[in-house]
Amino acid sequence: MKFLRPPITIAVFLVAWWAITAFTPVPPFMLPTPQSVGAALLAQHDLLFTNTITTLAEILLGLLFGTLLGAVAAIGIVASTTLQRWLMPILVLSQAIPVFALAPLLVLWFGFGITAKIVMTVLVIFFPVTANFADGLRRTDPSLLDLAHTMNAGRTASLRHIRLPAALPALASGLRVATAFAPIGAIIGEWVGASAGLGYVMINANARIQTDLMFAALAILATITITLYQLVDHALRRLLYWAPESQGGGSGRVRWEP
């Protein structure tokens, strides 16, 4: 039954969608039929494919840099009180200003290319990664640190051999949230100003009332997000095989399986 659930859910969704288009007076330019979206997917596959690659690159690079930056910031915050005093206000400030409001500025600074979107994605995911990882690093079992102390471990050795590995499940939680949020950053960036990408396709399609093409782009984006989340989740479970939450349906994990 577990494997049947996703296809059944998708089938029910498609039938309901089709029923709305067939039996209600909603015009096609507001809600296209599933068939016309499928046709748009096929007819425009070249256009969609090239733009998908752009968006995917933005998401993946944003994820990579955002995770690296977030992890380094978290270690900095935990390792040095001075760094914590300097970094925390910046971190909180970065969340106080809505990323949406920054998007036009980023496009102005970094241009219409991929850079502005990567920066945008980094800004969106930086905070969940840093917050989760820093939290994990701070919550090391004090008994473990006492044990390390009696073994004459220095601060760096304790951090490397005990605190960092112990905080990896927390980093993984941050990374899962980041994976789900990363496409948001890329798409917002593309909406504000871009020359390529799925967000760019959607804005253009919307302006030309090509709703079917817009839905096709949306379907691809949803597929990317879900697939990426599942891949990251699977990889994290394999890497952190020792963590209790990696074994079976533990808490602290959002399952996207319908």
Binding site: L144, N152, G154, I162, L168
Partner: protein
């Protein structure tokens, strides 16, 4: 390993935010003996052990070794939880101290100890793949790997079932021979089976009663008359 020194605890006090946990505690852990510390919960046994381990600073008093050398770097500590790192194999857990001190691992010693605690062949197992008794034996091997002359143990076997506990007591008694050991326990039988001398910390304010000496070399059989007799005396003392 260096010969185990005696440890003198003099006028030790612990005050916490205006509250006195204990004060004026004076006793000696003789070199190479297993001294058992008993007493009701909340009396400050763990605090005392943490002070000797250098994890908490005493509010007053002194802890000195009979050879005049500092205690730091000569103490191994084993707690109630096994504190095994869940991501590390048994072998890596046993040799944790070497990694933390950036020293090369002494694999011969590690394998020898793993064998002596009966876990040979399980070197690659993760803690989650071991039973509670195995994990505590792994923690014992990790403690012994440190090759410290002074060993501090805070209720190390309290979470184990009776049979497993009896086995690991025998093992600990054998492997800790020659170390100056302080063992906190709530189990009178454990105290009488493996302790050389038993010390009771009780009362309000807490003070130490004169130590009970268990005759005969440890580990003693559970039905050893000396064990049964001391256990009776101990229970009377603890209830008093």
């Amino acid at each position: 390993m260096q010969p185990a020194p005696a440890i003198h605890i003099e006028n030790l006090a612990s005050r916490y935010g205006g509250l006195t946990v204990f004060e004026d505690l004076t006793f000696t852990m003789r070199g190479g003996e297993l001294l058992v510390l008993l007493g009701p919960s909340g009396v400050g046994k763990t605090t005392l052990l943490r002070m000797i381990a250098g994890l908490d600073a005493p509010s007053a008093g002194q802890i000195t070794a009979s050879d005049g050398q500092p205690l730091a770097q000569r103490i191994a500590y084993m707690g109630q939880q096994d504190l095994l790192l869940p991501w590390a194999s048994l072998l890596d857990n046993v040799t944790l101290g070497a990694r933390l001190r950036r020293q090369p691992k002494n694999l011969d010693l590690a394998h020898n100890l793993i064998g002596r605690v009966g876990l040979a062949g399980r070197e690659k197992a993760l803690p989650a793949q071991l039973s509670g008794g195995m994990r505590q034996r792994a923690a014992l091997a990790r403690t012994l790997y440190e090759q410290r002359p002074i060993v501090l143990m805070d209720e190390p076997f309290s979470a184990l079932d009776t049979i497993t506990r009896a086995r690991i007591q025998d093992l600990a008694s054998e492997l800790l021979a020659g170390c100056t050991t302080l063992l906190i326990t709530h189990d009178p039988q454990e105290a009488c089976r493996i302790g050389h001398r038993l010390l009771i910390l009780a009362g309000d304010p807490p003070c130490l009663r004169p130590p009970l000496v268990v005759p005969g070399p440890p580990p003693r059989a559970p039905d050893d008359p000396a064990v049964l007799q001391t256990q009776g005396a101990l229970l009377r003392e603890l209830a008093a």
